[in-house]
């Protein structure tokens, strides 16, 4: 079983009910596959990057690689022109994916080379109240994955996968 991270090349093309996705598939996706990003239209997979575990892998899940599938509506521009590729060349860009009960519950894109923490509750950035509260998800473990040598012009220098547990009781004492 492989963990697949899907995101559009250009997130400005997303509709309100679409977003980044995490799937668990028996085989990795392939260029040319089509799937939904949460809404009523199909996106084309235009690239698949393999990221391998940095040290030992996710032994609990028996997984050593994850796959990053790039999605677009139709043919994609040259990879060198992708926004994420440009950001990765200018920043120490890494993607932190947080998984709870097998689904993506939070993500953030760190740009200064920091590493995610364990033992913390995931944050919720409020749009209207402009304050940060806690989600009922605690980060138990984090595993780092690095792009394989076959990945030219990577979008991230690493992808961290955080396994989370649902802890609503923690919000009452946080």
């Amino acid at each position: 079983m492989s963990l697949i991270y899907l995101r559009p090349i250009d997130d400005e093309q997303l509709w309100p009910n679409e977003g980044f996705q995490v799937l668990h598939l028996a085989t990795p996706p392939a260029v040319g596959d089509r799937l939904s990003l949460g809404g009523p239209r199909a996106w084309d997979i235009v690239g698949v990057d393999e990221y391998q575990a940095a040290a030992g892998g996710d032994e609990a899940a028996g997984r050593e690689s994850i796959y990053f599938a790039h999605c677009n509506l139709g043919a994609a521009p040259p990879r060198e022109e992708w926004y994420q590729v440009d950001m990765c060349s200018r920043y120490k860009s890494s993607m932190w994916l947080y998984i709870g009960n097998g689904v993506l519950v939070h993500w953030n894109n760190n740009l200064n080379g920091s590493e995610p923490k364990t033992g913390v509750l995931l944050p919720r950035y409020s749009v209207r109240e402009h304050k940060v509260t806690s989600q009922p998800w605690g980060v138990e473990t984090v595993t780092q994955y690095l792009p394989t040598e076959a990945v030219e012009h990577p979008c991230y220098r690493s992808i961290w996968v955080g396994q989370c547990v649902y802890v609503p009781h923690a919000l009452h004492v946080a």
């Binding site: 250009d10 997130d11 400005e12 997303l14 309100p16 009910n17 977003g19 980044f20 926004y83 950001m87 920043y91 939070h106 993500w107 953030n108 894109n109 760190n110 740009l111 200064n112 920091s114 923490k117 033992g119 913390v120 509750l121 995931l122 944050p123 919720r124 950035y125 409020s126 749009v127 940060v132 806690s134 605690g138 802890v167 923690a170 946080a174």
Partner: protein
């Protein structure tokens, strides 16, 4: 296990896309602020689904950088 809240002390503003964070950075720097874009996170909001997080000497989590029309008229 004791779970600690992730204390956020940096400045953040929300955008509709990741590229919007770069535009916000340009706008903040145009104000003369010594500030850097250090992280982007999802908000869960349908429209402003990206939190653009800034840090640096002039970053202020309590700053009100942009006033609404009603506040200025």
């Amino acid at each position: 296990m004791t779970w600690n809240p992730l204390e956020e002390k940096r400045e953040y503003h929300c955008a509709t896309s990741e590229k919007g964070c770069n535009r916000l950075l340009d706008a903040l720097r145009a104000q003369g602020l010594d500030i850097e874009l250090v992280e982007k996170a999802e908000t869960g909001d349908d429209l402003l689904h990206i939190a653009c997080i800034f840090d640096g000497p002039d970053a202020d989590p309590h700053a009100n950088r942009w006033q609404s029309y009603h506040e200025t008229n």
